[in-house]
Symmetry: C2
Subunit: 411 residues, 2 copies
Amino acid sequence: MTGFFKVTPLETVFALREQVPVRPVETLPLLEAGGRILAETIIPAANYPEFNRATMDGYAVQANATFGASEANPVYLNLIGQIAMGEKPPAAIGFGEAMAIATGGMLPEGADSVVMSEYVTPIDAATLEIVRSVAPWSNVIAIGEDMAAGQQLLTCGTRLRAQECGALAALGFSRVPVFQKPVIGIVSTGDEIVPIDVRPRIGEIRDINTYTLAGMISDCGATARSYGIIADDAAKLEQTCLEAMASVDMLLISGGSSVGTRDITIEAINRLPEAEIKVHGIPLSPGKPTILASFGKILIWGLPGQVTSAMIVFDRIVRPFIQHMTGRGAPPGYRDITVPAVLTRNLASTPGRTDYIRTRLEPGPDGWKAIPILGKSGLINTMLKADGLIEIDMNSEGLEKGSLVNVILFA
Amino acid sequence: MTGFFKVTPLETVFALREQVPVRPVETLPLLEAGGRILAETIIPAANYPEFNRATMDGYAVQANATFGASEANPVYLNLIGQIAMGEKPPAAIGFGEAMAIATGGMLPEGADSVVMSEYVTPIDAATLEIVRSVAPWSNVIAIGEDMAAGQQLLTCGTRLRAQECGALAALGFSRVPVFQKPVIGIVSTGDEIVPIDVRPRIGEIRDINTYTLAGMISDCGATARSYGIIADDAAKLEQTCLEAMASVDMLLISGGSSVGTRDITIEAINRLPEAEIKVHGIPLSPGKPTILASFGKILIWGLPGQVTSAMIVFDRIVRPFIQHMTGRGAPPGYRDITVPAVLTRNLASTPGRTDYIRTRLEPGPDGWKAIPILGKSGLINTMLKADGLIEIDMNSEGLEKGSLVNVILFA
């Protein structure tokens, strides 16, 4: 019972993030950088495009010279030349003049738009009939319209989606500075835990948490490294922790939820030189028996052994620490995706702790329905059915059926 | 102009999915299977757990023998033994009896719940004082309560999240059958396209689409393979297609949006033996000039050259085909994540085509605000700002400011 009920407020827990260093920078080929976190703010040195660029095949014109053009009342323009691909236009154009241009071509001085070929009929070598007017800057991307020189385009800490990779390609970044992936160690503890390829005897259970945690670690942009299963033996656990400390950036110990296993995690951490227990219990349900200790700049977590408790603590508490290490940072650098949905039943809650309720989303007549999945935290089946979590604030006594809740989607 | 405006209805386009084979099955170690698509329906052969399992350290009892127990009015039970970890209980228990049990232990016959140790004081070697009642099945996971023998647990086609991997671990799947990742080839075409590490001359542009498409291919669970940049030369493009046909499961040709490049894609496909053009134009904006051809069972797409058009066609049209190949299938096997949000401006639309509007999400006073990002489809910057898309139905003339729209989040 000791310090178990002296829970540490979540703000205090999250404040410890600042003590954890962001990973160093590495430079990757652009094709390998997708999903990684940008380690530099990108400010284009030049405008993109660097000139007024045609986005259609047609004729560069001054838009106002085409105003009023229609099938019934065509406008006639003087064709004064053509723009060879990859070259500067031979001349400027004036009102009433046109120059043939292909997609990607550079507009001549004086032109502000392109009339698409399909609305143009050459009458003779020097005259075009135009049957549709264009607005200024139609079928053109203007200098710097996509990315302006000197203006911040991507901030350090941005996750590189396909479009960010595309923008970097456009600017010629064949290699990209990103933060190295943190390596997160996983130790499963408990006399009752056996490897998954072993048939458990009575009282034994296969090592689930190594697999759920590895999946979540990978999903948040880090690398999982398993240190296997350690029996309830503080000396052995200390030894494994020491070994891990040499090569991980953070360690997760998933303990049995039994008091004995918890005590052994605490004992093993206490035996580690330099280690300091920072948190022993958090105001979270499920997940109260969470331990957080520091070993220099490396954090060691003692997660609950119950599979869903461990997953929820990881999702809500540990993940923001890993995201900080990956350089993605706190919101707004990272924000949860929440989906508003109508709650389909009352949910009671105990004030003084934040509750997370596993929830399924189902399409309803007016948007999503949030269907709470109530079940013991030992049941992995409840997580299979869940799309995300409902948070019940620590000051709330519950939520009413029919109210609009925000379902936090699983990452 | 040819077939350009004879757009193929989207139902007809999507119906072609059925001609594309799902990838064969491969078996992966569980730790490598995260994010992959399960290739078998999983029906547990045995109950999980296989016995009534304690989830707390304490005493196995019959719950009704504890009813009414409190600090003021304790209940006294006979301690008749203890259950050694990993062994069957030495005896059954009856009403008023208790047996010591640890987390993970097997409940004796007759017991239906566990009283946590903290509410129990041993009075002597044979007598326990209980100060809190338990409800039946408290602190116990019953036989088959998590996963029931013979009942479908995971269906073929399920994407393996962390929790599905955990359930497979619990059942002892150290290796998992998943569908092989399809290999999707990418060819960038256009005289004006240069590799990203080359400084473009006037009229040239770096090869953005290879990078945006590769990112999106990877995000939907396939492997991207680039076939480089091919100039506007039907024979060369045909040659590259033929080469790709030997080793890809699908090919994307991202063409310039110029009429010339489009024609060359069509010409190259027509030169391929066995190839057949199925679609030439779809009722989508942006993305109308999309081409779809078949080469035996391999599909070849001609995507628009404009970067955002190519991305939107990929997201809305090509991705469902790739998901089909990965075994994930159509909804409900896969469904978009949509977020309801309040539209911040009017959006006009032309009936007869489905419009996709790039949209940013911002927190508002009553949930999310959907802020359309209007801009030319050549501007990759618009995709950097976007969180997803608003769909405007082909029968709609637009959406009104203030209306509730569903924003389809980018995958």
